[in-house]
Amino acid sequence: MYKAVVIGGSAGSFQVITRILSSLPKNFPLPVLLSLHRLKHVRSGFVEALSIKSTIPIVEPYDKETIKPGKGYLAPANYHMYIELNKRIALSAEEPVNHSRPSIDLTFETAAQAYRNKLVGIILSGANRDGAYGLKKLKQTGGLAIVQDPNECQVKTMTEASLKLTTVDHIFTTDQIIKFLQKIK
């Protein structure tokens, strides 16, 4: 019933993301859209590091690339990553939002418009409020909102800001997030 998963976090949530990506079934049926805060002048290394353990292929997409199931799309350094209504990636070098480019809010907001109630959104540990507004939009358009349990996060700002703004569907530990994703058919 779901068509896509969108995940937001900061470089600090790298280990959690690696655990999630290494636990997905090889034939995971949905695309995974990753908007993660990262150093803007370091272009290479991140997608390679995520790919080592991931069971699904991870790419930094080209502009207007068609989104395919069973593939991970990581927002490239120094670009925002939008989801167009026709399910293609659109990159943008517009001004930072919440001091961030990529901005998690913008990926979540545009993914929510494209996938409506067929979208799962997950906010992980992070050091600023980016993502909270995007998760709210996702919830408003009928998506399923999940936030990582702040007790498990090294930095709680992002998850707590999200919980403050939105009544989410689940507050999950990393293990629970993994179990939930593994059940998606």
Partner: protein, 276 residues
């Protein structure tokens, strides 16, 4: 958070108004991007909603110019992707310009001018600036004026300086700009021979005989139809063997495009027009 959300019908009405009143066709801009620029304009100018925007744009030509500047997104910084600028400095500029007569470099959408000044500074340091003709066009008259005056946002200086150090190790960018209150200004002698062209949106009057086109991170704001149209224009503007550089996550990818261009550097998205 201060937010206004534009519906799909409102977006279409705005595109129709811009077409009817100014004969500018935005329907092939990327939709999420176009919506966001209009929303931003509505908030910044306290216009309340789409109707407010439409009324103002119909009445005020000056406001239309302000909107065009909003659509021409600022470059993020000077010397974005220092690895490309190092390659231009060490290989492409010296190898292609020396010995060439009338070397023209075209910036199809100059927007805030960061790419133009970056190129001019590298050329100046290579003693090649007087051997090239820089051509900068924009659909925004306001951006052209701002670029001619060398004005840029002083908030960018930190990242500009850091990028510059990655291109020219140990040297200082500040020799090329001045901070003046809340404004920063490039040394405009760098662009005293640059030719500026105000383009209309269909670019029907584009320069010819170009040897290098720098058009990074601008076509990402178009849909595939408009991207293809621009690439065809750039193909016609370039001499055979001319270089075409786009953003590092952009791609030339239309039917049969490999007969027009070859990709000569994948990491920096550098293409070369085929010899036909």
């Amino acid at each position: 958070m201060n937010k206004y959300e534009l519906g799909i019908v409102d977006t279409r009405n705005i595109i129709k108004t811009l077409q009817d009143v100014y004969n500018y066709d935005f329907k092939n801009y990327a939709l999420t991007f176009f919506k966001r620029r209009v929303e931003k304009t509505i908030i910044n100018h306290n216009l309340k909603d789409a109707d407010g925007f439409i009324r103002k744009i119909e009445l005020e030509k000056e406001f239309f110019e302000v909107f065009l500047q909003e659509i021409c997104v600022e470059n993020t910084e000077a010397f974005r992707d220092p690895s490309l600028w190092r390659l231009l400095k060490e290989e492409i500029f010296p190898q292609t310009i020396k010995g060439s007569t009338s070397f023209k470099i075209w910036f199809p959408e100059v927007s805030s001018g960061d790419e133009l000044f970056s190129a001019a500074i590298v050329l100046k340091k290579l003693n090649l600036l007087d051997k090239v003709q820089l051509i900068a066009s924009s659909i925004s008259e306001l951006d052209i004026e701002k670029t001619k005056q060398g004005i840029f946002d002083p908030k960018k200086t930190e990242v500009n300086d850091a990028n510059f150090k990655r291109v020219f190790s140990d040297e200082n960018l500040p020799d090329f700009y001045k901070i003046d209150g809340d404004k920063a200004r490039w040394d405009t002698s760098l662009i005293e021979n640059t030719k500026f062209i105000k383009q209309n949106i269909i670019f029907d009057d584009y320069p010819k005989g170009i040897k290098l086109v720098l058009f990074r991170n601008q076509m990402i704001y178009y849909n595939q139809i408009l991207q293809e149209r621009f690439i065809k224009i750039i193909y016609s503007s370039l001499v055979p063997g001319g270089h075409f550089i786009i953003g590092n996550n952009e791609k030339i990818d239309y039917w049969n495009s490999e007969k027009d261009f070859s990709l000569i550097n994948k990491d920096e998205s550098i293409y070369k027009k085929k010899l036909s």
